[in-house]
Amino acid sequence: MSAPILSVEGLIAGYEPGLPIVNGASMHAARGEIVALLGPNGAGKSTLIKAIAGLMKVSAGAVTFDGADITRLPAHKRIGVGLAFTPQTENVFAAMSVEDNLKLAAGLLAKADRPARTEAMFSTFPDLARQRGLLAGRLSGGQRQMLAIARALIVGPKALMLDEPSAGLSPKFVDMVFGKLAEIRAGGVTIVLVEQNTRAALALADRAYVLVQGRNRRDGPAKVLRDDPDIAALYLGGLETERAS
C-alpha cells in the first residue's frame, strides 16, 4: 500500500484543557480509500474528525496530510492544502442562497476558474442547480447535505471528511448521499466519515475504526467488521439500529 494521504497519531483533543474527549486515537486513510469512524455515542468520533479539520484544540499527537504536518495549521488553511470537511449540523449557510454558498467556497480558486467550477458542482448535483437562488435554509435535509458536499468539493480537494452525513435523513436520502460519496471516491477523492448509521457506513467503507472513550478499540476491513458479532453487540448498539427520521 502506498503511503497514507492522511495519518493521525496519538491525538489528544477536547473542548477544555485536561478533559480530553479524544484520548490518544490514531487512524490513517490511503489515497482513494473510504474510511469510516464508528463507535457508540460519546466515543469521540466527532471530536476526532473536528480536530483533524482544525476546529478543536489539540494538546498532543500529530496530523499529517499529503506529506505535511498540519497539526497546527489554522482551520481555514486546510481546505487550501486539499483537506475538506462538512460538519454534522449547520452544514450550510442558511441565510445565504445556494449559489452564494458555493461562491463563498469558490473564493479560494483563481478568479477565472470560479464560474466553471460552480457550474461543475451544479451539474454534479442537478437538484441544487434547480434551487440555486433559494436560501439554503429552505432546502430539505438531503439537499442541504448535498450542498454541504458540493461546497466542500468545489475547490477540488484531495480528501473529503464528513461528520455524520446520514444524520436526520430518511433511508432514501441516506442511499442517495452514500451513492454520491461512492461516485466522489471513484473520482479519486479519499473519504473519511463519522457515522452512527453503522450498517450503511460499513456497506460503503473499505475500512473502519471503532472508537470507545476516545481511544481505538478495533479496526480493520469493513467486510470483516460487518460480520463480527462482537462489534455489533458491544460497541455499535446493534446493526439493526437504523436512524430513520
Binding site: 481555514h76 445565504m96 461562491k103 467556497a105 475547490v155
Partner: protein, 302 residues
C-alpha cells in the same frame, strides 16, 4: 400632518442606517452590543472638522461653501480621510480591548468593556474640544421648495442623494463581493466559515473597519444636519440599536429598513407629539420588537 416629516424622517433614517449597519454586523459576528459605536460617530465628526480646518488653512478658498451648499471642498476631501481614521480607531479598539476578551470573557464583560471605551473616548473628545457645540460651517441654509410642498436645504438635498448611494454601496459590497459573502458567512457560522476557507480573524477586522468608516459618515451627516458635540453619537445609540434589532441582527438590508422606520417615527413624533418625546420612539420600537418578533424583520426566528 405636514409632509415635511418625510424629508426629516428620510434624512434621520439615512444617518441612523449608516450607524446601524456597523452595529448589526459587529453584533452578529462578535455576539456583543458595542456601546462604543456611538463614539465612532462622534470621533468621525470631530476628525472631519479638524481635517477640514487643516485643509482650508492650507488651500485658500477650499473652506468656502460650494455653490448653494454649506459643504466646502475641504470638507468633502476630509470625509474619506476621517472615515479611514475612524476605521483605524475601531481596529485599534478591537486589538487593544475586544480581541483580548474574545472567547475568554463572558459576553457581558465585553459589553461593559465597550461601555468603558465609550466613556473614555467621549471624555477624551470633551477634554480636547470642550462640550460646546461645534459646526462644520456657520453658513445659514435656506430651505428651498421641492415637489408636493416639501422643502429642504441644499445640504439636505445633497445628503438625501449621497447617503442612499452609500447604503446601496454597502448592500452591493455585502451581497455581490467575496468580502461581503465572507462577512455574512462569519456572522452566521464562524466554524463553518473556517472550514470553507474564510480567514475569520481577518474578516472580523474588515467588519470593524467597515463599521467605523460608516459611523464616521453618519457623524458627518449628523454634524451637517444638527451640530457636532461630544454626546452626539452616544445619544444616537438607542436609535441605532432599535434599528438593528428591528431589522433583525446580522441583516444589513434589515438595518436600513429598521433605520428608516425609526427615523420616520422620530420625525413624526416630533411633529405630532412634541420634540421631547423623540427618544421615546426608539424605546417603543425596541420594546415592541422584543415582545412581538424578537428576531426582527429580516431575522430568522431561532
Amino acid at each position: 400632518m405636514n409632509p415635511q416629516v418625510i424629508v426629516d424622517g428620510l434624512l434621520n433614517g439615512a444617518l441612523i442606517g449608516l450607524g446601524a449597519v456597523g452595529v448589526t454586523l459587529t453584533y452578529s459576528i462578535l455576539r456583543f452590543a458595542n456601546f462604543a459605536h456611538g463614539e465612532f460617530i462622534t470621533f468621525g465628526a470631530y476628525a472631519t472638522m479638524l481635517i477640514a480646518a487643516g485643509v482650508s488653512a492650507l488651500v485658500i478658498g477650499s473652506g468656502d461653501g460650494l455653490g448653494p451648499f454649506s459643504i466646502s471642498l475641504a470638507l468633502i476631501l476630509s470625509v474619506p480621510l476621517s472615515m479611514a481614521l475612524t476605521a483605524g480607531l475601531a481596529l485599534a479598539l478591537d486589538s487593544l480591548l475586544f480581541a483580548r476578551l474574545r472567547g475568554k470573557a463572558e459576553s457581558i464583560s465585553v459589553v461593559m468593556a465597550s461601555f468603558g471605551a465609550s466613556m473614555a473616548i467621549r471624555a477624551g473628545i470633551e477634554f480636547a474640544f470642550t462640550s460646546r457645540p461645534a459646526y462644520f460651517s456657520r453658513d445659514l441654509q435656506i430651505a428651498k421648495p421641492l415637489a408636493f410642498g416639501l422643502r429642504a436645504t441644499p445640504d439636505q438635498m445633497a445628503l438625501l442623494i449621497v447617503a442612499p448611494l452609500l447604503l446601496i454601496g454597502v448592500h452591493l459590497l455585502l451581497t455581490r463581493t467575496q468580502i461581503g459573502r465572507s462577512m455574512r458567512a462569519v456572522s452566521e457560522n464562524p466554524a463553518l466559515a473556517r472550514v470553507a476557507g474564510v480567514d475569520v480573524e481577518a474578516t472580523i477586522r474588515l467588519v470593524w473597519a467597515l463599521g467605523g468608516a460608516l459611523a464616521a459618515a453618519s457623524g458627518v451627516m449628523l454634524g451637517l444636519l444638527v451640530q457636532i458635540r461630544p454626546f452626539m453619537g452616544f445619544d444616537l445609540l438607542l436609535p441605532l440599536f432599535a434599528a438593528a434589532i428591528l431589522g433583525g441582527i446580522g441583516s444589513a438590508p434589515g438595518a436600513f429598513l429598521g433605520a428608516l422606520i425609526v427615523g420616520l417615527g422620530e420625525a413624526m413624533t416630533v411633529q405630532l407629539v412634541g420634540a421631547e418625546w423623540r427618544a421615546g420612539v426608539a424605546f417603543l420600537v425596541l420594546i415592541a420588537v422584543l415582545l412581538i418578533r424578537p428576531s426582527g424583520i429580516a431575522g430568522r426566528p431561532t
